[in-house]
Symmetry: C2
Protein backbone atom coordinates (compact mmCIF):
# COMPACT_ATOMS: atom_id res chain seq x y z
CA UNK A 1 0.00 0.00 0.00
CA UNK A 2 1.54 3.29 -1.07
CA UNK A 3 1.98 6.29 1.21
CA UNK A 4 -0.41 8.20 -1.04
CA UNK A 5 -3.28 5.75 -0.63
CA UNK A 6 -2.78 5.70 3.14
CA UNK A 7 -2.81 9.48 3.31
CA UNK A 8 -5.99 9.80 1.34
CA UNK A 9 -7.70 7.17 3.48
CA UNK A 10 -6.81 9.22 6.57
CA UNK A 11 -8.24 12.26 4.83
CA UNK A 12 -11.48 10.51 3.98
CA UNK A 13 -11.86 9.31 7.54
CA UNK A 14 -11.33 12.85 8.84
CA UNK A 15 -13.85 14.11 6.30
CA UNK A 16 -16.38 11.45 7.33
CA UNK A 17 -16.04 12.27 11.02
CA UNK A 18 -16.31 15.97 10.15
CA UNK A 19 -19.59 15.38 8.30
CA UNK A 20 -20.98 13.45 11.28
CA UNK A 21 -20.02 16.35 13.56
CA UNK A 22 -21.69 18.80 11.16
CA UNK A 23 -24.81 16.68 11.32
CA UNK A 24 -24.51 16.72 15.11
CA UNK A 25 -24.46 20.52 15.00
CA UNK A 26 -27.55 20.68 12.79
CA UNK A 27 -29.25 18.25 15.17
CA UNK A 28 -28.35 20.52 18.10
CA UNK A 29 -29.81 23.55 16.30
CA UNK A 30 -33.02 21.70 15.37
CA UNK A 31 -33.46 20.35 18.87
CA UNK A 32 -32.81 23.73 20.52
CA UNK A 33 -35.40 25.32 18.22
CA UNK A 34 -37.93 22.53 18.84
CA UNK A 35 -37.62 22.98 22.61
CA UNK A 36 -37.65 26.77 22.42
CA UNK A 37 -40.79 26.88 20.26
CA UNK A 38 -42.48 24.67 22.86
CA UNK A 39 -41.58 27.14 25.58
CA UNK A 40 -42.97 30.17 23.75
CA UNK A 41 -45.01 28.66 22.11
CA UNK A 42 -43.71 30.01 18.82
CA UNK A 43 -45.46 29.09 15.57
CA UNK A 44 -42.84 30.62 13.24
CA UNK A 45 -39.93 28.90 14.94
CA UNK A 46 -41.80 25.58 14.78
CA UNK A 47 -42.31 26.10 11.04
CA UNK A 48 -38.53 26.66 10.64
CA UNK A 49 -37.77 23.32 12.26
CA UNK A 50 -40.11 21.55 9.81
CA UNK A 51 -38.65 23.49 6.88
CA UNK A 52 -35.07 22.51 7.76
CA UNK A 53 -35.82 18.80 8.28
CA UNK A 54 -34.83 17.80 4.68
CA UNK A 55 -31.30 19.10 5.42
CA UNK A 56 -30.85 16.30 7.94
CA UNK A 57 -31.99 13.73 5.36
CA UNK A 58 -29.56 15.15 2.79
CA UNK A 59 -26.69 14.97 5.28
CA UNK A 60 -27.63 11.41 6.15
CA UNK A 61 -27.58 10.40 2.47
CA UNK A 62 -24.22 12.11 2.01
CA UNK A 63 -22.73 10.26 4.98
CA UNK A 64 -24.26 7.02 3.72
CA UNK A 65 -22.58 7.51 0.31
CA UNK A 66 -19.25 8.44 1.94
CA UNK A 67 -19.37 5.28 4.06
CA UNK A 68 -20.17 3.06 1.06
CA UNK A 69 -17.35 4.66 -0.92
CA UNK A 70 -14.82 4.27 1.88
CA UNK A 71 -15.87 0.64 2.42
CA UNK A 72 -15.71 -0.18 -1.30
CA UNK A 73 -12.51 1.65 -2.23
CA UNK A 74 -10.47 1.62 0.97
CA UNK A 75 -11.53 -1.68 2.44
CA UNK A 76 -10.70 -0.65 6.00
CA UNK A 77 -10.33 -3.11 8.85
CA UNK A 78 -9.82 -3.21 12.63
CA UNK A 79 -9.92 0.28 14.21
CA UNK A 80 -10.53 1.98 10.85
CA UNK A 81 -13.51 -0.22 10.07
CA UNK A 82 -14.83 0.50 13.55
CA UNK A 83 -14.48 4.26 12.91
CA UNK A 84 -16.39 4.00 9.64
CA UNK A 85 -19.23 1.88 11.02
CA UNK A 86 -19.50 4.06 14.13
CA UNK A 87 -19.85 7.16 11.96
CA UNK A 88 -22.72 5.47 10.14
CA UNK A 89 -24.40 4.37 13.38
CA UNK A 90 -24.17 7.83 14.91
CA UNK A 91 -25.51 9.45 11.75
CA UNK A 92 -28.52 7.10 11.84
CA UNK A 93 -29.25 8.13 15.45
CA UNK A 94 -28.86 11.84 14.62
CA UNK A 95 -31.28 11.53 11.73
CA UNK A 96 -33.85 9.98 14.05
CA UNK A 97 -33.33 12.76 16.61
CA UNK A 98 -34.03 15.29 13.85
CA UNK A 99 -37.20 13.35 13.01
CA UNK A 100 -38.28 13.61 16.64
CA UNK A 101 -37.50 17.36 16.62
CA UNK A 102 -39.76 17.74 13.58
CA UNK A 103 -42.45 15.69 15.32
CA UNK A 104 -42.26 18.05 18.33
CA UNK A 105 -42.52 21.10 16.05
CA UNK A 106 -45.54 19.69 14.23
CA UNK A 107 -47.37 19.12 17.49
CA UNK A 108 -46.41 22.59 18.77
CA UNK A 109 -48.16 24.01 15.70
CA UNK A 110 -51.24 21.93 16.56
CA UNK A 111 -51.18 23.34 20.09
CA UNK A 112 -50.65 26.90 18.77
CA UNK A 113 -53.68 26.52 16.51
CA UNK A 114 -55.74 25.33 19.49
CA UNK A 115 -54.35 28.18 21.64
CA UNK A 116 -53.06 25.72 24.22
CA UNK A 117 -49.97 26.51 26.27
CA UNK A 118 -47.72 23.41 26.48
CA UNK A 119 -46.98 22.06 29.96
CA UNK A 120 -43.85 23.59 31.42
CA UNK A 121 -42.44 20.20 32.46
CA UNK A 122 -42.24 19.39 28.76
CA UNK A 123 -39.62 22.11 28.33
CA UNK A 124 -37.57 20.84 31.29
CA UNK A 125 -37.67 17.32 29.90
CA UNK A 126 -36.64 18.67 26.49
CA UNK A 127 -33.69 20.61 27.89
CA UNK A 128 -32.47 17.54 29.75
CA UNK A 129 -32.61 15.38 26.62
CA UNK A 130 -30.93 18.11 24.57
CA UNK A 131 -28.01 18.19 27.00
CA UNK A 132 -27.69 14.40 26.65
CA UNK A 133 -27.45 14.70 22.85
CA UNK A 134 -24.90 17.53 23.00
CA UNK A 135 -22.81 15.71 25.60
CA UNK A 136 -22.89 12.49 23.57
CA UNK A 137 -21.65 14.36 20.48
CA UNK A 138 -19.00 16.13 22.57
CA UNK A 139 -17.84 12.73 23.82
CA UNK A 140 -17.64 11.58 20.18
CA UNK A 141 -15.53 14.58 19.17
CA UNK A 142 -13.18 14.16 22.14
CA UNK A 143 -13.33 10.34 22.13
CA UNK A 144 -14.13 10.73 25.82
CA UNK A 145 -15.22 7.44 27.36
CA UNK A 146 -16.13 8.87 30.76
CA UNK A 147 -18.37 11.59 29.29
CA UNK A 148 -20.05 8.90 27.18
CA UNK A 149 -20.53 6.79 30.30
CA UNK A 150 -22.16 9.76 32.03
CA UNK A 151 -24.69 10.22 29.22
CA UNK A 152 -25.39 6.53 29.34
CA UNK A 153 -26.25 6.59 33.05
CA UNK A 154 -28.25 9.86 32.95
CA UNK A 155 -30.91 8.16 30.81
CA UNK A 156 -32.41 6.75 34.01
CA UNK A 157 -33.00 10.28 35.29
CA UNK A 158 -34.68 11.28 32.03
CA UNK A 159 -36.95 8.25 32.30
CA UNK A 160 -37.98 9.27 35.83
CA UNK A 161 -38.80 12.80 34.62
CA UNK A 162 -40.76 11.33 31.72
CA UNK A 163 -42.81 9.12 34.02
CA UNK A 164 -43.68 12.08 36.25
CA UNK A 165 -44.73 14.13 33.23
CA UNK A 166 -46.82 11.27 31.83
CA UNK A 167 -48.71 11.14 35.11
CA UNK A 168 -49.09 14.94 35.18
CA UNK A 169 -50.61 14.97 31.68
CA UNK A 170 -53.09 12.21 32.55
CA UNK A 171 -54.30 14.22 35.53
CA UNK A 172 -54.88 17.28 33.30
CA UNK A 173 -57.02 15.06 31.09
CA UNK A 174 -59.02 13.91 34.10
CA UNK A 175 -59.47 17.42 35.44
CA UNK A 176 -60.68 18.91 32.17
CA UNK A 177 -62.00 16.65 29.41
CA UNK A 178 -61.83 19.56 26.95
CA UNK A 179 -58.04 19.30 27.26
CA UNK A 180 -57.92 15.60 26.32
CA UNK A 181 -56.82 16.13 22.69
CA UNK A 182 -54.18 18.70 23.61
CA UNK A 183 -52.79 16.51 26.36
CA UNK A 184 -52.76 13.49 24.06
CA UNK A 185 -50.52 15.55 21.75
CA UNK A 186 -48.33 16.40 24.75
CA UNK A 187 -48.12 12.72 25.75
CA UNK A 188 -46.61 12.04 22.33
CA UNK A 189 -44.29 15.04 22.68
CA UNK A 190 -43.07 13.70 26.02
CA UNK A 191 -42.56 10.29 24.47
CA UNK A 192 -40.60 11.82 21.54
CA UNK A 193 -38.28 13.51 24.03
CA UNK A 194 -37.83 10.27 25.96
CA UNK A 195 -36.89 8.60 22.66
CA UNK A 196 -34.36 11.38 21.97
CA UNK A 197 -32.71 10.46 25.26
CA UNK A 198 -32.58 6.82 24.15
CA UNK A 199 -30.89 7.87 20.91
CA UNK A 200 -28.33 9.96 22.83
CA UNK A 201 -27.69 6.86 24.93
CA UNK A 202 -27.16 4.83 21.73
CA UNK A 203 -24.61 7.41 20.54
CA UNK A 204 -22.86 7.23 23.90
CA UNK A 205 -22.80 3.43 23.60
CA UNK A 206 -21.21 3.70 20.15
CA UNK A 207 -18.55 6.09 21.51
CA UNK A 208 -17.78 3.68 24.33
CA UNK A 209 -17.43 0.88 21.77
CA UNK A 210 -15.22 3.08 19.60
CA UNK A 211 -12.92 4.02 22.46
CA UNK A 212 -12.95 0.66 24.22
CA UNK A 213 -12.94 -1.63 21.19
CA UNK A 214 -15.58 -4.00 22.53
CA UNK A 215 -19.37 -3.64 22.56
CA UNK A 216 -20.86 -2.39 25.83
CA UNK A 217 -22.07 -5.54 27.57
CA UNK A 218 -23.68 -4.02 30.65
CA UNK A 219 -27.42 -4.37 30.81
CA UNK A 220 -28.87 -1.04 29.78
CA UNK A 221 -30.87 0.74 32.47
CA UNK A 222 -34.40 0.27 31.20
CA UNK A 223 -36.98 2.24 33.03
CA UNK A 224 -39.98 3.27 30.98
CA UNK A 225 -42.38 2.91 33.84
CA UNK A 226 -45.16 4.62 31.90
CA UNK A 227 -45.99 1.37 30.12
CA UNK A 228 -47.58 0.07 33.29
CA UNK A 229 -48.88 3.42 34.51
CA UNK A 230 -52.58 3.52 35.29
CA UNK A 231 -53.98 6.30 37.45
CA UNK A 232 -56.27 5.09 40.15
CA UNK A 233 -59.39 7.01 39.21
CA UNK A 234 -62.00 5.12 41.19
CA UNK A 235 -62.04 7.62 44.05
CA UNK A 236 -62.20 10.68 41.83
CA UNK A 237 -65.33 9.52 40.02
CA UNK B 1 -8.41 -14.10 -6.14
CA UNK B 2 -8.56 -17.87 -5.87
CA UNK B 3 -11.63 -19.97 -6.59
CA UNK B 4 -11.61 -21.02 -2.95
CA UNK B 5 -11.88 -17.45 -1.59
CA UNK B 6 -14.69 -16.63 -4.02
CA UNK B 7 -16.60 -19.71 -3.04
CA UNK B 8 -16.40 -19.01 0.66
CA UNK B 9 -17.49 -15.40 0.12
CA UNK B 10 -20.59 -16.67 -1.67
CA UNK B 11 -21.19 -19.02 1.24
CA UNK B 12 -20.87 -16.23 3.78
CA UNK B 13 -23.30 -14.07 1.85
CA UNK B 14 -25.81 -16.94 1.71
CA UNK B 15 -25.32 -17.49 5.42
CA UNK B 16 -25.81 -13.79 6.16
CA UNK B 17 -29.03 -13.60 4.14
CA UNK B 18 -30.18 -16.79 5.84
CA UNK B 19 -29.66 -15.27 9.28
CA UNK B 20 -31.63 -12.18 8.26
CA UNK B 21 -34.46 -14.40 7.08
CA UNK B 22 -34.34 -16.35 10.38
CA UNK B 23 -34.61 -13.05 12.20
CA UNK B 24 -37.54 -12.16 9.95
CA UNK B 25 -39.24 -15.39 11.02
CA UNK B 26 -38.72 -14.68 14.70
CA UNK B 27 -40.09 -11.18 14.12
CA UNK B 28 -43.16 -12.69 12.47
CA UNK B 29 -43.71 -15.03 15.43
CA UNK B 30 -43.28 -12.22 17.99
CA UNK B 31 -45.60 -9.92 16.10
CA UNK B 32 -48.27 -12.60 15.64
CA UNK B 33 -48.16 -13.32 19.38
CA UNK B 34 -48.26 -9.61 20.28
CA UNK B 35 -51.36 -9.09 18.15
CA UNK B 36 -53.03 -12.29 19.31
CA UNK B 37 -52.50 -11.48 23.01
CA UNK B 38 -54.17 -8.11 22.36
CA UNK B 39 -57.18 -9.84 20.88
CA UNK B 40 -57.65 -12.21 23.80
CA UNK B 41 -56.39 -10.41 25.89
CA UNK B 42 -53.94 -13.08 27.00
CA UNK B 43 -51.57 -12.40 29.89
CA UNK B 44 -49.47 -15.58 29.45
CA UNK B 45 -48.94 -15.05 25.72
CA UNK B 46 -47.90 -11.44 26.39
CA UNK B 47 -45.36 -12.67 28.93
CA UNK B 48 -43.92 -15.05 26.31
CA UNK B 49 -43.33 -12.17 23.89
CA UNK B 50 -41.40 -10.28 26.57
CA UNK B 51 -39.45 -13.38 27.51
CA UNK B 52 -38.37 -14.03 23.91
CA UNK B 53 -37.26 -10.43 23.20
CA UNK B 54 -33.57 -11.06 24.06
CA UNK B 55 -33.47 -13.62 21.21
CA UNK B 56 -33.96 -10.79 18.73
CA UNK B 57 -31.11 -8.82 20.30
CA UNK B 58 -28.84 -11.85 20.14
CA UNK B 59 -29.68 -12.39 16.47
CA UNK B 60 -29.02 -8.71 15.76
CA UNK B 61 -25.59 -8.93 17.40
CA UNK B 62 -24.80 -12.07 15.46
CA UNK B 63 -25.73 -10.42 12.15
CA UNK B 64 -23.74 -7.34 13.14
CA UNK B 65 -20.64 -9.49 13.76
CA UNK B 66 -21.15 -11.39 10.51
CA UNK B 67 -21.38 -8.11 8.58
CA UNK B 68 -18.23 -6.71 10.20
CA UNK B 69 -16.36 -9.94 9.45
CA UNK B 70 -17.48 -10.03 5.83
CA UNK B 71 -16.57 -6.36 5.36
CA UNK B 72 -13.17 -6.78 6.99
CA UNK B 73 -12.10 -10.09 5.46
CA UNK B 74 -13.89 -10.16 2.11
CA UNK B 75 -13.87 -6.46 1.24
CA UNK B 76 -16.88 -6.74 -1.03
CA UNK B 77 -17.85 -4.07 -3.53
CA UNK B 78 -20.64 -3.20 -5.99
CA UNK B 79 -23.59 -5.62 -5.76
CA UNK B 80 -21.95 -7.69 -3.02
CA UNK B 81 -21.39 -4.65 -0.83
CA UNK B 82 -25.00 -3.65 -1.44
CA UNK B 83 -26.14 -7.13 -0.34
CA UNK B 84 -24.13 -6.93 2.87
CA UNK B 85 -25.27 -3.42 3.80
CA UNK B 86 -28.89 -4.25 2.96
CA UNK B 87 -28.76 -7.26 5.26
CA UNK B 88 -27.57 -5.00 8.06
CA UNK B 89 -30.26 -2.39 7.38
CA UNK B 90 -33.04 -4.96 7.31
CA UNK B 91 -31.79 -6.56 10.54
CA UNK B 92 -31.85 -3.14 12.24
CA UNK B 93 -35.49 -2.66 11.19
CA UNK B 94 -36.44 -6.17 12.33
CA UNK B 95 -34.89 -5.57 15.73
CA UNK B 96 -36.96 -2.40 16.11
CA UNK B 97 -40.12 -4.27 15.08
CA UNK B 98 -39.39 -6.82 17.82
CA UNK B 99 -38.98 -3.91 20.27
CA UNK B 100 -42.39 -2.63 19.27
CA UNK B 101 -43.88 -6.12 19.69
CA UNK B 102 -42.47 -6.20 23.22
CA UNK B 103 -43.88 -2.73 23.88
CA UNK B 104 -47.32 -3.97 22.77
CA UNK B 105 -47.06 -7.01 25.04
CA UNK B 106 -46.04 -4.90 28.05
CA UNK B 107 -49.05 -2.65 27.59
CA UNK B 108 -51.37 -5.66 27.11
CA UNK B 109 -50.26 -6.84 30.53
CA UNK B 110 -51.08 -3.41 31.97
CA UNK B 111 -54.55 -3.64 30.42
CA UNK B 112 -55.00 -7.23 31.69
CA UNK B 113 -54.14 -6.07 35.21
CA UNK B 114 -56.70 -3.29 34.94
CA UNK B 115 -59.26 -5.72 33.47
CA UNK B 116 -59.68 -3.58 30.37
CA UNK B 117 -60.54 -5.14 27.03
CA UNK B 118 -58.37 -3.59 24.27
CA UNK B 119 -60.24 -1.82 21.43
CA UNK B 120 -61.00 -4.19 18.58
CA UNK B 121 -59.68 -1.73 15.96
CA UNK B 122 -56.25 -2.19 17.56
CA UNK B 123 -56.25 -5.83 16.44
CA UNK B 124 -57.26 -4.91 12.87
CA UNK B 125 -54.50 -2.32 12.72
CA UNK B 126 -52.04 -4.87 14.09
CA UNK B 127 -53.02 -7.52 11.54
CA UNK B 128 -52.58 -5.02 8.71
CA UNK B 129 -49.09 -4.00 9.90
CA UNK B 130 -48.14 -7.65 10.40
CA UNK B 131 -49.03 -8.43 6.81
CA UNK B 132 -46.83 -5.52 5.67
CA UNK B 133 -43.87 -6.94 7.60
CA UNK B 134 -44.39 -10.47 6.27
CA UNK B 135 -44.81 -9.21 2.69
CA UNK B 136 -41.68 -7.05 2.96
CA UNK B 137 -39.65 -10.06 4.13
CA UNK B 138 -41.18 -12.21 1.39
CA UNK B 139 -40.12 -9.56 -1.13
CA UNK B 140 -36.59 -9.72 0.34
CA UNK B 141 -36.45 -13.51 0.01
CA UNK B 142 -37.75 -13.45 -3.57
CA UNK B 143 -35.97 -10.18 -4.50
CA UNK B 144 -39.40 -9.10 -5.73
CA UNK B 145 -39.46 -5.40 -6.58
CA UNK B 146 -43.20 -5.23 -7.28
CA UNK B 147 -44.15 -6.85 -3.96
CA UNK B 148 -41.81 -4.39 -2.21
CA UNK B 149 -43.48 -1.54 -4.09
CA UNK B 150 -46.87 -2.77 -2.90
CA UNK B 151 -45.79 -2.75 0.75
CA UNK B 152 -44.38 0.73 0.25
CA UNK B 153 -47.70 2.09 -1.03
CA UNK B 154 -49.91 0.29 1.50
CA UNK B 155 -48.38 2.37 4.31
CA UNK B 156 -50.82 5.15 3.40
CA UNK B 157 -53.73 2.83 4.16
CA UNK B 158 -52.23 1.89 7.52
CA UNK B 159 -51.85 5.58 8.37
CA UNK B 160 -55.52 6.19 7.57
CA UNK B 161 -56.54 3.30 9.84
CA UNK B 162 -54.26 4.65 12.57
CA UNK B 163 -55.80 8.11 12.36
CA UNK B 164 -59.32 6.68 12.66
CA UNK B 165 -58.27 4.63 15.69
CA UNK B 166 -56.57 7.61 17.33
CA UNK B 167 -59.82 9.53 17.02
CA UNK B 168 -61.82 6.56 18.35
CA UNK B 169 -59.60 6.28 21.44
CA UNK B 170 -59.89 10.01 22.20
CA UNK B 171 -63.67 9.75 22.11
CA UNK B 172 -63.57 6.85 24.62
CA UNK B 173 -61.55 9.11 26.91
CA UNK B 174 -64.13 11.85 26.57
CA UNK B 175 -67.03 9.52 27.20
CA UNK B 176 -65.57 7.94 30.31
CA UNK B 177 -62.79 9.71 32.23
CA UNK B 178 -62.14 6.50 34.20
CA UNK B 179 -60.88 5.00 30.93
CA UNK B 180 -58.31 7.76 30.32
CA UNK B 181 -55.28 5.80 31.53
CA UNK B 182 -56.25 2.64 29.64
CA UNK B 183 -56.90 4.58 26.46
CA UNK B 184 -53.61 6.45 26.81
CA UNK B 185 -51.92 3.02 26.84
CA UNK B 186 -53.90 2.09 23.74
CA UNK B 187 -52.88 5.34 22.01
CA UNK B 188 -49.26 4.24 22.44
CA UNK B 189 -50.11 0.73 21.23
CA UNK B 190 -51.69 2.21 18.11
CA UNK B 191 -48.63 4.38 17.57
CA UNK B 192 -46.31 1.36 18.00
CA UNK B 193 -48.24 -0.47 15.29
CA UNK B 194 -48.07 2.55 13.00
CA UNK B 195 -44.29 2.58 13.55
CA UNK B 196 -44.14 -1.14 12.67
CA UNK B 197 -45.72 -0.23 9.33
CA UNK B 198 -43.03 2.43 8.81
CA UNK B 199 -40.33 -0.14 9.50
CA UNK B 200 -41.92 -2.58 7.00
CA UNK B 201 -41.87 0.29 4.51
CA UNK B 202 -38.15 0.85 5.23
CA UNK B 203 -37.50 -2.84 4.56
CA UNK B 204 -39.45 -2.57 1.30
CA UNK B 205 -37.37 0.47 0.36
CA UNK B 206 -34.16 -1.46 1.01
CA UNK B 207 -35.39 -4.34 -1.16
CA UNK B 208 -36.20 -1.90 -3.96
CA UNK B 209 -32.70 -0.43 -3.65
CA UNK B 210 -31.19 -3.91 -3.64
CA UNK B 211 -33.09 -4.99 -6.76
CA UNK B 212 -32.91 -1.67 -8.60
CA UNK B 213 -29.40 -0.60 -7.60
CA UNK B 214 -30.32 3.01 -6.85
CA UNK B 215 -31.93 4.50 -3.76
CA UNK B 216 -35.69 5.06 -3.99
CA UNK B 217 -36.01 8.77 -4.81
CA UNK B 218 -39.80 9.09 -4.72
CA UNK B 219 -41.15 11.19 -1.93
CA UNK B 220 -42.43 8.82 0.68
CA UNK B 221 -46.16 9.01 1.35
CA UNK B 222 -46.23 10.73 4.71
CA UNK B 223 -49.59 10.82 6.32
CA UNK B 224 -49.55 10.80 10.09
CA UNK B 225 -52.56 13.04 10.36
CA UNK B 226 -52.85 12.39 14.10
CA UNK B 227 -50.18 15.02 14.82
CA UNK B 228 -52.67 17.75 14.04
CA UNK B 229 -55.73 15.91 15.33
CA UNK B 230 -57.76 17.82 17.90
CA UNK B 231 -61.31 16.73 18.65
CA UNK B 232 -63.74 19.59 18.71
CA UNK B 233 -65.04 19.20 22.26
CA UNK B 234 -66.71 22.57 22.74
CA UNK B 235 -70.17 21.28 21.89
CA UNK B 236 -69.91 18.16 24.03
CA UNK B 237 -69.18 20.10 27.22
Amino acid sequence: VSEHVLKSFEEELVRLKGRVRDMGELTGVQLEAAIRCTEGPNFELAATVIQREPEANRMMHEIDSLVIRVLALRQPWAIDLREVLSALRIAIELERICDHAEDLAQRVITLCNARVEPAHSLVNLGRFAMKMVNDAMHAYTKMDDSEAQQVWTSDTELDAMYTALFRELLTYMLEDPRQISANAQMLFMARAIERIGDRATNIAETVRYLVGGTPVEEERPKADATKSLMLSTASSQ
